[in-house]
Amino acid sequence: MTVNENIKKIRVGTASCGLAAGGAAVLEALHLHAPNIDIDEVGCLGHCYAEPMVEVVTNDGKSYLYAGVDDQESAISSILSLSDKFRFKIPPVRESKELLKVLKLAGKICPTSYDEYVANGGYAALKKALANTPEWVINEIKESGLRGRGGGGFPTGVKWSFLATKEAEQKILICNADEGDPGAFMDRSLMESVPHQMLEGMLIGAYATGATRLIIYCRAEYPLAIKHLKIAIEQIYQNGLNKIEGRELDIMIKEGAGAFVCGEETSMIASLEGKRGTPRFRPPFPTDRGLNNFPTSINNVETFGNIPLIIKDGAESYAAIGTAGSKGTKLFALAGDLKYPGLIEVPMGTTLSEIVFGIGGADPEKVKAVQTGGPSGGCIPKSLFDTPVDYDSLKSLGAIMGSGGMIVISNERCMVETARFFLDFTHRESCGKCTFCRVGTTRMYETLERIVAGNGKREDLDFLENIGPKIIKGSLCGLGQTAPNPVLATLRYFRNEYEDHVLRGQCSALQCNNLVDVVLFKDNCIKCRLCIKNCPVNAISDDFVVDNNLCTRCNTCIEICPKKTIARTKRGEVVNDKI
């Protein structure tokens, strides 16, 4: 295979999504066919839909992106000869809307190379911080307007100042890397792609607050992130960066064991102490009495990732980005029914339609809503997509910013079922300490389960609206206080869908199995009998009629029909294939 002699370096994306799409095989094939070329494994460029991705850098400094490649000859030879096949262009809308600050180095440098991070301006912010006083650092963070990126939105500078003013034998700084929201992967990508950036933020935090113990509480489900962090911490020790003003810092990783509630500060502390992760009453706040009763500040991965930017460029230039109440940029994990799922970074204040239709390339005809904030958030209907994305605007709509999961929902998805899905999650993850959360979320779940099964009553809707605010009021921690959001928000914006279920026994999105019929429209049928042969329960008769009492709605016939003449319909709407 010929290798273009102009090639200087090849970068292969091998973060989790790159590997899942087959990045490892591509890497191996490139090594095999171009043994003399420098090949780097890099993190995530954020274009998940285009994985596996390869970047070729030439001697004259040009960069060529290849996407959707595999380990077969046509892809590999195209990369090595710099041909146009498999060449990738970033969608222009995305390029114009995105502002890469926190993710600037993601996918560009080798995550496990300390030298590359330093060569790209890494640890300059730490140096600058150390040349100033801790008070100056905290003031800069306050001035920047940075708010906690984990969802709460508490001003980071204020939290740090609480810790800085405490006199204690030991102070602790914890990085919350327990990204438990289903559908969110911002923190994973950042840790996998540029682990040093977040660690630099922690070191600056340690200097500013006087903390000497740094703990990263990371999900055990993120083995690659943990691996990269471990290597990066080792490099910090080797380069003596853990010695700040004569204090020696102790940096360690603790692996979480899979409990959503541990994203809550006081639960995380209980978990770090080796106990069940249940929250406790606040005050005392962790900055007064945290882990093992020592003053503790807990900040999120993305928050720490922002710190070096603020210190390096100054609070003023950081605060110039964003809206009045929300400064800087925000990462979002964009997924669901859209063309370009991936990890994006936009300035605060970008509107939902710019994100969903512009960057995400979703079809405006087909989109119904967007879900933000995971199981703690709400669904925002298309009619409100002009809303700017910032902490306060989203809250006023009954959703939340959350940590940054953003799921686009099309017309084919049932909102009641979506709410049921989130409550299924929260009622299982409720730790059980507060009665309203433990029993309330379970009752909400059971009610929704009944509605999607077609057994709902009108009173069920009143019940949901009544119990929701009570759960919010009667729960100690963020889990219970936000758990009813998905239900209350869908009831607010998509009441018609709930009413379709309980009053008419229909699911307009044709998703709830008990509320749909499967119909074979005979007009287009070519009598190929594929549906009859493949039906696992023999529900289709020899004269091509689906027996809906036997049918399990498994979709086999719908998928297999070459003429697409079998479809789901609203229950009772179609009789003998005529509407």
């Binding site: 989790s16 999504c17 590997l19 899942a20 799409a21 998940c48 839909y49 994985e51 438990g180 929201d181 289903p182 559908g183 969110a184 992967f185 994973r188 055990a220 489900e221 993120y222 603790k254 692996e255 979480g256 064991a257 899979g258 409990a259 959503f260 978990s271 770090l272 102490e273 080796g274 106990k275 069940r276 992760g277 093992n292 994990a333 997924a335 669901g336 029914d337 799922p341 991936g342 879900q371 995971g374 999961g405 799921i407 929902i409 998805r413 979506t418 899905f421 989130f422 999650f425 730790c431 498994c554 979709n555 086999t556 998928e559």
Partner: protein, 149 residues
């Protein structure tokens, strides 16, 4: 009686209990009654308290997993893309429900909150290998491949 000397890698502090249990699971594949007794002896924590911690966290398994461990992602993106049906198909194909291991110890099935590859949804993993963009046909085909082995 298994050998639990690997526990000595970590200190006996209470705060290391979860780490210790993770270590046990990494060695044994799950946490058996016998391992609970070993952890109780080592850390000086009552068995009942350890059981409490085990049941609290989703990561810990109390049933021996099968040779092929299937995890079906039911995160938001996968759910939106139809993971519920994937679970039903796999379940009926293998005759086991989520959280179970079949009687021959060949397959075990679980649903997980998020495997972190939302752009490939719906996704399942078998022994850590990710299979994305599943539909009924591809799901059944993958299972048949593993059955042959």
């Amino acid at each position: 009686m298994n050998d639990y000397s690997y526990l000595k890698e970590i200190d006996k502090e209470h705060s290391n209990l979860i780490k210790g249990l993770q270590l046990i699971q990494a060695h044994e594949g799950y946490v058996s009654d016998e391992s609970i007794r070993a952890a109780s002896d080592y850390f000086g924590i009552a068995e009942v308290e350890i059981e409490g911690v085990l049941t609290f966290y989703a990561q810990f398994k109390r049933i021996k997993p099968g040779k092929n461990k299937i995890s079906i992602c039911d995160g938001t993106a996968c759910h939106i893309k139809g993971s519920k049906q994937i679970i039903e198909w796999v379940s009926s194909e293998l005759g086991i429900k989520s959280g179970e291991t079949d009687s021959d110890g060949i397959f075990s099935l679980e649903t997980v909150a998020c495997l972190g590859c939302c752009s490939l949804a719906p996704v399942m993993s078998i022994n850590g290998k990710i299979f994305g963009k599943l539909d009924r046909k591809s799901t059944i085909k993958i299972l048949k491949e593993y059955k042959k082995q």
